[in-house]
């Protein structure tokens, strides 16, 4: 009974009602995003009706792609091998160059910000340019063939491997480095005996990961004349031989998945 009375008294107490936080910010954000999307649709001439109209075409295309022309494999096998070679050589060159770049970026090894900030800036600039664009540039410089493709992949690999590696470098255990500094080691000795053992597995893993990406990238570099299997997309699509295109896509898919699988297994064992 007593408790009930108490409850009634509590009920009569003027209830606390904090002010609801304003929602203007949310509405403004939503309006901004809508505006962005609407503007983008206008700018790129994208309309739903166009998608609906294009839909039958897509189905036609898919129908013409099947069944794939299996015999076309003979024609593209050599190009696929070239693709893998390009990825392998490009990744290797990139990885080699990435080592000094990564060391120069690591704030815990290079004490002077006058060195590591500019190098990092340069690295970030490299990473803004997509690999296919690099390839187009190198084709303009060196002419058509796998070589510009390899250079493009190398530059791209430097950007990626160096970034991943220097971030890992900055996370290493400083203990061994301190001990070696205390023992009077110079920078090179510290790197060889203190840094390398801590980082080599990571570095190998990053390189393999970049190799996976590069295989995918190398498969399309041919579109700008930079070698590999990508060239055959233009050949087959230009002659409306969609069943051959389907064969290229399936073959690439299979190779990429196999390489991914092997590489992932290797990386799991490394770390």
């Amino acid at each position: 009974m007593n408790a009930k009375l108490e409850a009634e008294q509590q009920g009569r107490r003027s209830p606390i009602r904090p002010k609801a936080p304003g929602k203007t910010k949310h509405y403004l954000t939503a309006a901004f995003i809508l505006l962005l999307v609407w503007g983008s649709a206008v700018q790129s001439d994208s309309t739903l009706s166009e998608l609906v109209q294009g839909f039958p075409n897509m189905l036609d295309l898919l129908r013409e792609m099947f069944p794939p022309r299996w015999t076309y494999l003979d024609n593209i096998l050599e190009a696929m091998l070239e693709t893998i070679r390009m990825a392998l050589v490009g990744t290797t060159i990139g990885a080699l160059f990435a080592i000094p770049v990564a060391l120069l970026c690591a704030a815990n090894l290079i004490k002077s910000r006058w060195i590591y900030y500019p190098v990092r800036l340069l690295l970030n600039l490299i990473r803004t340019i997509p690999d296919l664009l690099l390839a187009a540039l190198f084709v303009a410089i060196f002419g058509i063939g796998p070589l510009p493709g390899i250079f493009a992949l190398s530059v791209f690999s430097i950007g990626l491997i160096a970034k991943l590696t220097y971030e890992a470098l900055e996370a290493i255990d400083p203990g061994p480095l301190e001990a070696m500094t205390a023992a009077g080691a110079n920078l090179v000795q510290i790197i060889v005996y203190g840094v390398v053992p801590q980082i080599q597995a990571h570095f190998a893993s990053f390189t393999l990961y970049t190799f996976e990406i590069n295989v995918r990238a190398a498969a399309v570099l041919g579109l700008v004349g930079a070698g590999g299997i990508g060239h055959y997309y233009e050949v087959t699509l230009g002659f409306f031989e969609y069943d051959k295109t389907a064969m290229i896509i399936l073959f690439t898919l299979a190779v990429v998945l196999i390489i991914d699988y092997i590489s992932t297994k290797l990386r799991e064992r490394l770390l």
């Binding site: 009930k4 209830p15 606390i16 904090p18 002010k19």
Partner: protein, 257 residues
């Protein structure tokens, strides 16, 4: 009224969680279920709203069998049973108010709630619920900005907003310190007295059980080994439930020191 008729639960690996349990819990009771961890307290509580399925027997809630209920009927029975958890189970990054309002979803169609808008009366109800656990001023704070005790009170408010007729509390104070433990238990007790909500609490500490409950049920290895009013729950009886003399870890006051 809750009727538990000959309920057993056998897990897939063959272990028996509950063994032929028969209980009747009346309207407005405050029941504490005690026992060692692994005795089946949580399993029993969670079979009452069918978060766990039983393998044998039947549980009747307010005249309807929850064991046989499906789909909409099951949800309607669950709507009348509020649950409070050891880890509060709030959505940490949403506001306290929205967490309380989540207790109202059972009253509205899916379509209406999916938009995320609740009727004015619901918001009012949520505020009243928060008021009753003295935390209304935090309505617009993010749940994870609150202390553990405050979060558990938000969970209680969620159950109040749900207008549940039964409250199941599964170790509600196990992650709280002694001071907030008292506040949360006081809240549960007050609500039990004010609104006559049947309250069933799993507790590890027997002094808490004695202090707040009107009836104590002791479980041991999935069987009811004690069932009676607090006055009958002597230290000897507890020793029987736990299978050994009472230790410090069964007493909140002692464990706190």
């Amino acid at each position: 009224m809750i009727e538990i008729r000959n309920v057993s639960k056998t897990y897939a690996n063959g272990t028996k969680g509950l063994n032929h349990i028969n209980l009747t819990i009346g309207q407005g009771e405050f029941v504490a279920i005690v026992g060692l961890s692994g005795a089946g307290k949580s399993t029993l509580l969670r079979s009452m709203n069918r978060l766990h399925d039983i393998t044998e027997g039947e549980i009747i809630i307010g005249g309807k069998s929850i064991t046989a209920a499906k789909g909409r009927n099951l949800r309607m029975i669950r709507r009348d049973i509020g649950m409070i958890f050891q880890s509060f189970n709030l959505v940490k990054r949403t506001s306290v108010l929205r967490n309380v309002l989540a207790g109202r979803v059972g009253y509205h169609s899916t379509l209406r709630t999916v938009v995320g808008r609740f009727p004015k009366q619901d918001v009012e109800l949520a505020f009243q619920a928060l008021d009753r656990v003295n935390i209304a001023e935090k309505a617009y704070s993010r749940a994870d900005e609150l202390s553990g005790g405050q979060q558990q009170r938000v969970a209680i408010a969620r159950v109040l907003a749900q207008e549940a007729k039964i409250i199941l509390a599964d170790e509600p104070v196990a992650s709280l310190d002694p001071l907030t433990t008292k506040q949360v238990m006081d809240d549960l007790k007050r609500i039990n007295l004010e609104s006559g909500i049947t309250t069933i609490v799993n507790l590890h500490f027997i002094d808490l059980a004695r202090q707040y409950a009107t009836r104590i049920i002791g479980l041991r290895a999935g069987e009811v080994v004690f069932d009676g009013p607090v006055s009958e729950a002597t230290d000897e009886k507890f020793a029987e439930i736990y299978g050994r003399p009472l230790g410090k870890e069964e007493l909140l006051e002692e464990a706190a020191v």
